[in-house]
């Protein structure tokens, strides 16, 4: 059942649900649940920094705010994406014989990186791992232009020299990448803020790009929404809980089972 953002639907028992933009990836939503004047928001994954591929997070007042906390530690600070894209382009320009292979998740991250590359003036073909193609096509059908995209498999080595190639993180250091001309491995992830994570990944070019809120965004959002109570889930609850405690905000950790520990 397709539902538009801001369209209120009834889900029974006097409860209505409204989907609000979360700014995470194309189609991502917060859910506003309302019952007898009481309002609950479940953020799902979200971010506050601008993203050309999806509408921005809508700050909406509520009584209970259930927030994600993937990057819920004060060490996480995602720099403006233009800076990271600038570093990527500079490394590429300095190594014309090689190619830059960017590890990025197939849903959202890859398209955002491509869209930001275009915004930074990179209009050459971007080469894709097979796992990226369907999702990129879907984004384009939904009205997000991504420019000239080509499959990396089958491309001539000469064409790949000096090119930007995007693949899922697992393919960065695996057999798939052996076909590329001496790739500089880059990884687009919020975890790249921490050196130990960079070293574990074995990447040469860490790009701090995330589709999740960083510490500043998480705390600012709680302050702006200003709910009576905050529940924290999906990530590092303790630090955010402590932040709420220090500011005398009611909060608790909501333990959810079955979520992936390491989202990007």
């Amino acid at each position: 059942m397709p539902v538009e953002y801001h369209e209120q639907i009834t889900i029974g028992g006097g409860v209505t649900a409204t989907f609000l933009p979360a700014g995470h990836v194309l189609g991502s939503a917060q859910i506003l649940l309302e019952h007898a004047g009481e309002r609950i928001i479940v953020t799902g994954d979200y971010k506050r920094s601008p993203d050309p591929t999806c509408p921005p997070f809508a700050v909406t007042p509520c009584d209970l705010f259930i927030t994600e906390a993937t990057f819920g530690l004060p060490v996480f600070c995602h720099p403006p994406i233009a800076e990271e894209i600038g570093r990527l382009l500079a490394v590429r320009a300095a190594n014309p014989e090689r190619c830059v292979l960017v590890g990025a998740y197939a849903l959202g991250k890859a398209q955002r990186v491509i869209a930001e590359l275009r915004a930074a003036g990179w209009h050459a073909p971007v080469y894709l791992h097979g796992a990226m193609e369907t999702m990129c096509r879907l984004y384009e059908e939904q009205g997000v232009p991504l420019g000239d995209l080509r499959p990396a498999v089958g491309a001539a080595k000469a064409d790949l020299s000096g090119a930007i190639v995007i693949c899922p993180p697992f393919a960065l250091n695996d057999r798939w990448s052996r076909r590329l001309p001496d790739p500089i491995t880059a990884m687009a992830s919020g975890w790249m803020r921490v050196r130990q994570r960079v070293r574990q990944r074995g990447v040469e070019l860490p790009l701090i790009i995330s589709d999740h809120a960083d510490w500043h965004e998480l705390t600012t959002t709680i302050a702006q929404v200003n709910p009576a109570e905050t529940w924290i889930t999906h990530g590092r609850e303790e630090a955010l809980l402590r932040w709420c405690e220090l500011r005398q905000r009611r909060a608790r950790a909501l333990a959810l089972t079955g979520y992936e520990d390491e989202d990007d």
């Binding site: 803020r193 921490v194 050196r195």
Partner: protein
């Protein structure tokens, strides 16, 4: 400071040795004195500011960050310096002064008292960005821990200024940060620093492995290659120092040696422990394993001195009194060394005898028979060779005895690093602890990551991927179907391994696709080779 911060981050992201060398030498070329000397000191762990300790950093942060948030962050990041660099509150106003230079940091921290240090550091941190703060804290606490060895930094120095690494090693000793005489010499602005007044290490002369070269024993003399550790003894100004291969001082581990050399001299020899495994009954030496018990000790007990007394078997004489003999031919140095022997305590020093032989065929037979005595092989030294640092073609050769071989089964594999990061290239292999047909199991006996060609590596990588039965993090367990012929130099008893055995220098000799796994060797076969 900013330039050092950039270097540290670049080094972190570079896995190849050559890449790291290029980065360091570029830094040394483009950075002015004395900053580059201080950076070099940081890379070689020679920086120490007594007023700054790890606790200083923790104290600084405790005043600025909630303790719970600090602990959670520190636990996640895993490094105090990095956590502090990320959590340091950016000053509200733009800093009044530009980012500090390295020498400014050195001046400020050397003058700081223990109580004044936090304020000094805080002022410096306010003028830097995240990467700069990380570098400053690492530098100030003297613990870089970025996987750069002092040797690598020295090689980079040699490359930067196109000087010989052996000269760098020789002149390095006796210098202290920021090494200005060293830079002055390397850039051609001054003569080399004097080295004759201090008990300094002189780089060793090394040997090439003997390949297809035709050697005539008229030109070359044959000598045993003893299986101990190569040492250099230096006595200057009443002080004796014992140096190991890498130029590290190990005098404290072998006080009986250091105490037995009372006159000015620089000699080269093999450090051994008394025993009967090498060189037979008269003046024999124990196996390498016995020597290992004595390595790396800061102090040595009397019991240990009595149980495993050390001695040095002398190979060469570099400096006799104040006379440098290194330019002289080997035969001259040898005669001088032999003349020196009567002046030395016989319990602590003896001469490495030459092998009286006139043709290579006989020598080959002698070498083949050397197995039981745990001798590493034979050295061939040109009678006219000067004593030069490093490996020089045609002067010295080492002719190692044939390796031991055993058939093992591949058990686990792990991916390599750098260019090999997409390949399973580190292999753990085992032998049967009994009869495999009656329920015996494989026990790991060693690990090897070389000995194969690139083509064989591709085969092995494919094999591992197609025969994986379990994954443990980065490690894959295979179905134990592939047999390796493993070559190794020797095998010793070891309490640290489940199999009770440890190999020296194991490498993959051949891949035995033809051999079924149950025909691989048993532990008892390997145990019988223990020396």
């Amino acid at each position: 400071m900013k330039r050092l911060a950039k270097l540290l981050d670049e080094l972190l992201l570079t896995s190849s040795r050559n890449g790291k060398l290029k980065l360091i030498s570029a830094y040394l070329c483009e950075t002015p004195d004395p900053d580059r000397g201080w950076a070099l000191a940081a890379l070689t762990s020679a920086v120490d500011f007594p007023a700054v300790k790890a606790g200083t950093i923790r104290g600084l942060m405790a005043d600025r960050v909630d303790p719970v948030l600090w602990t959670l962050s520190r636990d996640f990041v895993g490094d105090t310096a990095e956590t502090a660099s990320l959590l340091w509150p950016e000053p509200d106003q733009a800093p009044l002064a530009p980012p500090p230079t390295l020498s400014e940091v050195v001046a400020a921290l050397s003058n700081a008292t223990k109580t004044g240090a936090p304020a000094v550091l805080s002022g410096l941190l306010d003028r830097l960005d995240t990467a700069g703060r990380y570098a400053l804290i690492k530098f100030a606490t003297g613990a870089l821990r970025i996987g750069i060895s002092a040797r690598l930094a020295k090689v980079a120095f040699a490359q930067a200024f196109r000087v010989q690494i052996e000269d760098v090693e020789e002149y390095w000793h006796g210098q202290s940060p920021p090494y200005q005489p060293l830079f002055a010499w390397a850039t051609g602005a001054a003569p080399p620093p004097r080295t004759d007044l201090l008990p300094l290490f002189r780089p060793f002369m090394l040997a090439h492995p003997l390949g297809d070269e035709k050697i005539s024993l008229e030109d070359y003399v044959a000598e045993w290659k003893w299986d101990g550790i190569r040492v250099q003894l230096v006595h200057v100004g009443g002080e004796t120092r014992v140096y190991s291969r890498g130029g590290d001082e190990i005098s404290a581990s072998f006080p009986e040696i250091a105490a037995s050399l009372p006159f000015p001299v620089v000699i080269d020899g093999e450090l051994l422990v008394r025993g009967s495994d090498q060189g037979g009954d008269t003046g024999g030496a124990a196996s390498f394993n016995a020597l290992q018990q004595r390595l790396g000790r800061k102090t040595v007990s009397k019991a240990m001195l009595a149980e495993a007394p050390a001695f040095v078997r002398l190979y060469d004489l570099l400096i006799d009194g104040s006379e440098d003999l290194r330019e002289q031919p080997w035969a001259v140095r040898r005669a001088r060394l032999e003349a020196l022997i009567p002046r030395l305590e016989p319990d602590r020093f003896d001469l490495s005898e030459t092998i009286p032989v006139s043709d290579m065929e006989t020598l080959a037979k002698i070498r083949a028979g050397a197995r039981d005595s745990a001798i590493e092989g034979i050295m061939l030294k040109h009678r006219q060779s000067p004593y030069v640092a490093g490996r020089r073609a045609g002067l010295w050769y080492k002719w190692k005895r044939e390796p031991l071989l055993i058939d093992c089964v591949l058990m686990y594999a792990q991916r390599g690093s750098g260019k090999r990061s997409s390949f399973y290239s580190d292999f753990t292999f085992g032998c049967w602890n009994g009869d495999p047909d009656t329920g015996a199991d494989l026990l790991p006996v060693g690990k090897a990551y070389f000995g194969f060609t690139d083509e064989e590596l591709r085969f092995l990588d494919r094999h591992v991927r197609q025969h994986t039965v379990a994954k443990y993090g980065p490690v894959r367990e295979t179905d134990r179907s592939l047999v390796f012929e493993v070559a190794f130099d020797s095998v010793h008893l070891s309490k640290r391994h489940k199999s009770g055995l440890a190999m020296r220098f194991p490498r993959i000799h051949r891949i035995r696709e033809d051999k079924p796994a149950h025909e691989a060797d048993r532990l008892e076969t390997l145990r019988a080779m223990v020396t």
